[in-house]
Amino acid sequence: MTLPLGQRAPLLSMNHIEKTFAGNVTALRDMSLNVNEGDFLSLLGPSGCGKSTALRLIAGLSHPTRGRIEWQGGKNKDDLGIVFQEPTLMPWATVAQNVWLPFRLRGTAFDAVKNDIDEILKLVGLESFHDAYPRELSGGMKMRVAIARAMVTKPRLILMDEPFAALDEITRFKLNNDLLALKDAIGCTVIFVTHSVFESVFLSDRIIVMAARPGRVIHEVEVDTPYPRSEAFRTSAEYSAHTRATSDALGEAIGEAA
């Protein structure tokens, strides 16, 4: 059960982060952000606003030019799961072997975590595809495997970089619902990069709106509709109101950049 906003324990904080790439391109300027345990936080903005850069910094895949990212209680490599825009599965390995990967890299044998793998595959609805190869799966199913892989170790934080951008709308809606259910089941925090207002409002309780050139945070929108959110939320007046507020903030972000 996720605590209401304002009562959550801090997970990590980004303090005055700046990231400059070679050639003096400022990807992020003075980004400060506190992420709490249990947040579903979306980074929303136009291309070039540095949302993916921010995600890579949090993942530890690159390091800030200035500023610090501080994890509450220190960062452990088991704390993190990640889902990319592509499913990024190993084509030579079966579904179960792909999901085993985070455990395998810790040196855990397959049999020791067989139950965890079966359990998470059941949660993403792929229990009968245990021994299938990725090529046998549809785009949506591959993405489910990627999510299962990120969640199987029950990490504290899951980073998602526009994971559903390449999927069709029907599949995307279904995965949106399933993602919320999974987050609830695992009890993790999610940072979700997207450029879709509708997706961010449906999924998140916090939306960080970013602007481009240089990449920076310009607004935070809170979506206080409690979870679980059903399909009916998509057509509710509440949803429209949040969507409008977020759209306006994003409009401002785009306007400022232009």
Partner: protein, 290 residues
């Protein structure tokens, strides 16, 4: 706006509905399956017949072009001589290929693990590759006592490069997001090599192996031509050369055919290995259904 409900479509009862297109495709597949074997066999038979008729009708002397019957006879009568020669050439080729695999893969791994190693050694690997082996062979004959070892070195030099270059590219071709994923999970160098780079490199390595298999045989034949001349009596190519000096054209053709046969066998074997290793997951080995 209103939504009308459509009457449900009654379930299909007729079980033997045949899709004309599918049936035609199945028939075509069957025909192709048979033609794949019968056509080349038929071509072979026709070629042999034409060869036989050409030689007998024109009274071509056997030292210009022996007929297929004479060649067949040579294979049978000279088998006691050809078989050991074939074994020598076979051993030469397979050993060269084996050492090419070991050397090529080891160096490729070294290249991908250390940029310095690649910068230092890659130019020399290229020099070794572009220098014609025929030009190196006589030198090897001087420096290496054993003719077999000298020939082995020649064949190895030729077979080594495709393995090295393909495996190096393969090891570097791992998906970038997967690389990032391994970084996030704190994978060690060894884990990265074992679980990510090596499987990514496998299709490239196998393509290199198919090329190297053929080249190892060519290298062995060239080496025997150059080194085996001094009466060391190496393998099939030496036999071929000797037969040409003696105007024994039946044996010459017999040796030639056996060399080709070995080439075909090596290609078939490497293709089979490649298919078995990749059939489950790699695009190159997958059948597409429309």
């Amino acid at each position: 706006m209103s939504i009308t409900e459509h009457a449900p479509i009654p379930p299909q009862t007729d079980t033997d509905v045949v899709d004309v297109e599918e049936a035609a495709r199945a028939r075509q597949d069957k025909i192709n399956g048979i033609a794949k074997w019968t056509l080349p066999s038929l071509m072979m038979a026709l070629t042999l017949l034409a060869w036989h008729l050409y030689v007998t009708l024109n009274n071509i002397p056997h030292y210009v072009l022996p007929g297929p019957l004479l060649v067949g006879q040579s294979i049978i009568e000279d088998w006691g001589l050809l078989w050991p020669a074939m074994q020598t050439t076979g051993r030469l080729t397979l050993l060269a290929l084996l050492f090419a695999i070991i050397g090529g893969v080891a160096l490729a791994v070294a290249f991908t693990q250390s940029k310095w190693a690649e910068m230092s050694f890659f130019p020399y690997a290229v020099i070794l590759q572009v220098t014609p082996v025929v030009a190196i062979a006589p030198l090897l004959q001087i420096y290496v006592d054993s003719a077999f070892v000298a020939a082995l070195l020649c064949a190895w030099i030729v077979a080594f490069f495709p393995i090295l270059s393909n495996t190096t590219i393969g090891l570097k071709s791992a998906d970038h997001n997967l690389q990032d994923l391994f970084t996030i999970y704190g994978a060690s160098r060894w884990q990265r090599l074992r679980y990510l780079s090596a499987p990514s490199a496998l299709p490239y390595f196998l393509a290199g192996l198919r090329i190297a298999g053929g080249l190892a045989l060519i290298g062995a034949v060239v080496a025997e031509f150059v080194i085996g001349r001094a009466g060391t009596g190496l393998g099939l190519a030496s036999t071929l050369l000797e037969a040409s000096y003696r105007f024994n054209f039946g044996r010459l053709y017999a040796a030639l055919i056996l060399i080709s046969l070995m080439g075909v066998m090596i290609f078939a074997a490497t293709s089979l290995i490649s298919h078995l290793l990749l059939r489950k997951w790699h695009e190159s080995a997958l059948k597409r259904d429309t």
